[in-house]
């Protein structure tokens, strides 16, 4: 996971002050973003956050309204798409319906003027790589969604591009297939040493696959970091809420010392690790992940808040518990093997001071 930190010393793809407007609508605002060679970077955000536009600008389908884009120190934002040598995988796969699977994969090689004799083995190898060697003669419409996805992948990789762009490539697949493909993509990325820019609105997908995640909202970068940084140390309220589920607690600082701070929220007092640079009397927002909350009878551990079980929802692999603690409504995720409390019973909800993260308002 930490590879990217050492790699990002030499930026390979660079966005410099890139903005994009459609008419009067600003879609991307002053983006500065460096990506290292061989990195797997996810652009994560809700629809309309500008992430796809960034990808389209990198692929050459859109031109930045201002700013420049560089790859290997060469400016590329004025090159037409066919001169950029980037593999693009589209959400709907964009396979050519009038060509067979093998002809689809052969297309980029054909366009590069390669001999027929050389194309065939390369196509065969690319199809083999995505485990579709036996389906070369089929038409795309005769394949399942997952198979079409693999063809699109083989077609984007067969000409050995340095950079592969993926626009929600797994969005059209069902859950099981999607998770399977996530792992396959990650393997391909590792074995081929590709630089991958991956657009998604699915936060778990972004966390699973990426070296780094860039979270976008309203055309702005909210946070760029490793999946751990994004999940465990969200820097904005948007990131805290968008990536994973969280309890957002509006608290007031009581006292501050080196070890942390004592805060009050909803009529309860507890300790946190940091005060976000604020002083006593000031308000802060805290993020507390549901899986960090434990339930028990013991009131002597760490932060122990007396609470009442408001709801108990069995969800297969885990249990979701709604708690009323003072005036706070908290959600906790518990292991399914945990003890069961009937709704309405009193429990002690506890968490460590460093489980609470300060997020800017």
């Amino acid at each position: 996971m930490m590879r990217s930190v050492t790699r990002s010393m030499t930026p390979y793809i660079q966005f410099k002050q890139v903005s994009k407007s459609f008419g009067s609508v600003r879609v991307v605002e002053h983006l500065d973003f460096d990506i290292a060679h061989g990195e797997f970077v996810s652009l994560l955000g809700p629809s309309g956050s500008g992430k796809t536009t960034i990808l389209m600008m990198l692929a050459g389908f859109e031109a930045p309204s201002s700013g420049t884009i560089h790859v290997a120190e060469r400016r590329i934002d004025q090159l037409p798409p066919h001169k950029r040598d980037m593999g693009v995988v589209f959400q709907n796969f964009a396979l050519f319906p009038h060509r067979s699977v093998a002809e689809n994969v052969a297309f980029p090689l054909q366009m590069r003027g390669m001999d027929r004799g050389k194309i065939a083995p390369k196509v065969a190898r690319a199809l083999e790589m995505v485990k579709l060697g036996h389906l070369g003669e089929r038409r795309p419409a005769q394949l399942s969604g997952g198979q079409q996805q693999r063809v699109a992948l083989a077609r984007a990789l067969v000409f050995e591009p340095e950079v592969v762009l993926m626009d929600e490539p797994l969005g059209a697949l069902d859950k099981q297939l999607r998770e399977h493909m996530q792992l396959e993509l990650r393997d391909l990325h590792r074995t081929l040493g590709l630089t991958v820019i991956f657009v998604t609105h699915d936060q778990s997908e972004a966390l699973t696959m990426s070296d780094r995640v860039a979270v976008f909202n309203n055309g702005r970068v909210e946070q760029i970091g490793t999946p751990q940084q994004i999940y465990d140390a969200p820097q904005t309220r948007f990131v805290a809420e968008f990536v994973g589920e969280t309890n957002l607690i509006e608290a007031q600082i009581d006292t501050v010392d080196q070890g942390g701070a004592r805060v009050q929220a909803g009529g309860l007092a507890f300790l946190v690790d940091e005060a976000g640079g604020r002083g006593p009397g000031e308000a802060i927002n805290l993020s507390l992940r549901p899986e960090r909350i434990r339930l028990g009878d013991d009131a002597s551990v760490g932060n122990a808040l007396p609470a009442q079980i408001a709801d108990w929802v069995y969800q297969g692999d885990h249990v979701r518990v709604h708690l009323q603690a003072g005036e706070l409504m908290l959600v906790a995720k518990l292991d399914r093997r945990s003890r069961e409390w009937p709704v309405g019973s009193a429990v002690i909800a506890s968490f460590e001071p460093d489980d609470c993260r300060v997020v800017p308002a």
Binding site: N92, F93, A94, P97
Partner: protein, 395 residues
């Protein structure tokens, strides 16, 4: 359970009954009538009932049996329905020119003597001694005939019943048929050449431009064919807007002949039929996912190569159905060539109209119609075979 099903089926049938009835009355019945008119030949049988019976037994050797000759005289004396008689005379005269005068002379002579007195036909007119008049009469007797169908392609049967090429002035049908197909093919090619880029432009344009482009195609479609043809009539004249502009720009010194020749016909037909080409292509192109061209670009295809490898092959189904539509409609064109063409630009429809309205020869009109119908259906068969090849739209 089965009763419920049966009732549901019955009510379903009742719902489609009006449509079925409409199709039967206004489509199937006229078609069948037309087809039968082309091959039936009943006028002589109706006007000369007893002679027709006698002629059926005749072994076609001269001299004719007295019974046949007397039956003819008897029928001539008994003529009451002048219209039916006139039809029969016209039919016989078209087989052997001069039959009309022969019959009218015979009729007046036969009526001038006593009703029961025997009549010597050869004495009235020596032509009754010639075999061709009797053969023509006997040929006109059977209920079904292929002479209209043969005549439609300039063939006929000689005295021995063999199919031979028709001779002389009556052999224009083949020429006109070839000309009809030629004009239709030319118009189709022109429509394709203009319609394909136009449809692509309209499909890629957005907003008001797309609206304007589509409206420009649809507006003529909503105007009467006659109005459009008349408009071209004015534009294409020697003193018309087009020649005036060409001369004004010093492109030509004297007016170019644009009207009453093939050029005018093809220009006007192309304009009138263009929507039938543009709309099918447009609907196909609009259905092609936009990012296929983006994908082609990202895979290294410059715009022109992407066009030839992706967009063009995917638009072919639209081009094919548009071409078929234009060609089929063009085959039947009548008003435009009639108004804008010269004598040598008339298409098969005007020949059909000539037979149907000019000479009331319904048999010939129907036979030519059958050939037009056959050609159209053959084309459609080819089209459905071509469009059967797996040509799926992308996801």
């Amino acid at each position: 359970m089965t009763r419920v099903v049966a009732r549901a089926r019955l009510s379903a049938l009742a719902l489609i009954a009006p449509l079925a009835l409409f199709l039967a009355v206004f489509f199937v019945w006229p078609l069948v009538t037309m087809l039968t008119t082309a091959v039936t030949d009943g006028v002589v049988r109706t006007a000369f009932p007893s002679a027709a019976e006698a002629a059926a037994d005749w072994n076609r050797e001269m001299p004719v049996p007295a019974a046949l000759a007397q039956a003819l005289v008897a029928d001539l004396r008994g003529v009451e329905d002048q219209a039916a008689f006139g039809d029969a005379v016209r039919r016989l005269n078209s087989a052997v020119p001069g039959y009309r005068s022969l019959l009218s002379r015979t009729l007046s002579s036969a009526r001038s003597v006593a009703p029961d007195a025997p009549v010597d036909l050869e004495a009235i007119d020596p032509r009754w001694g010639e075999a061709q008049y009797w053969t023509a009469f006997a040929d006109a007797v059977p209920r079904f005939t292929d002479r209209n169908l043969l005549a439609a392609v300039d063939l006929s049967r000689n005295a021995a019943g063999e199919v031979v090429s028709g001779a002389g002035e009556a052999s224009a049908n083949r020429v006109i048929m070839v000309r009809t197909f030629g004009i239709a093919a030319g118009v189709t090619a022109l429509c394709a050449a203009i319609g394909l880029p136009y449809a692509m432009l309209a499909a890629t344009a957005t907003g008001w431009l797309r609206m304007a482009l589509l409206l420009a195609v649809l507006l003529p479609l909503w105007t009467s064919l006659l109005v459009r043809t008349a408009a071209w009539f004015i534009l294409l004249q020697n003193e018309g807007l087009i020649n005036w502009t060409l001369m004004g720009l010093w492109i030509t010194d004297s007016p170019i002949a644009l009207i009453f020749n093939r050029t005018g016909v093809v220009i006007a037909m192309t304009h009138v039929l263009l929507p039938f080409m543009v709309l099918p292509i447009y609907s196909v192109i609009v259905g092609i996912p936009k990012n296929l061209m983006q994908a082609a670009g990202s895979l290294g295809a410059p715009p022109l190569r992407a066009f030839f490898h992706v967009l063009l092959p995917l638009s072919l189904p639209g081009l094919l159905s548009g071409s078929l539509l234009v060609f089929m409609v063009a085959l039947g064109y009548y008003i435009t060539p009639a108004l804008l063409g010269g004598a040598n630009d008339q298409m098969i429809s005007s020949v059909i109209a000539f037979y149907a309205m000019g000479t009331a020869n319904w048999g010939m009109a129907a036979a030519l119609g059958i050939f037009l119908l056959t050609a159209t259906m053959a084309l459609y068969a080819v089209y459905s075979r071509l469009s059967d090849t797996p040509q799926m739209t992308g996801r």
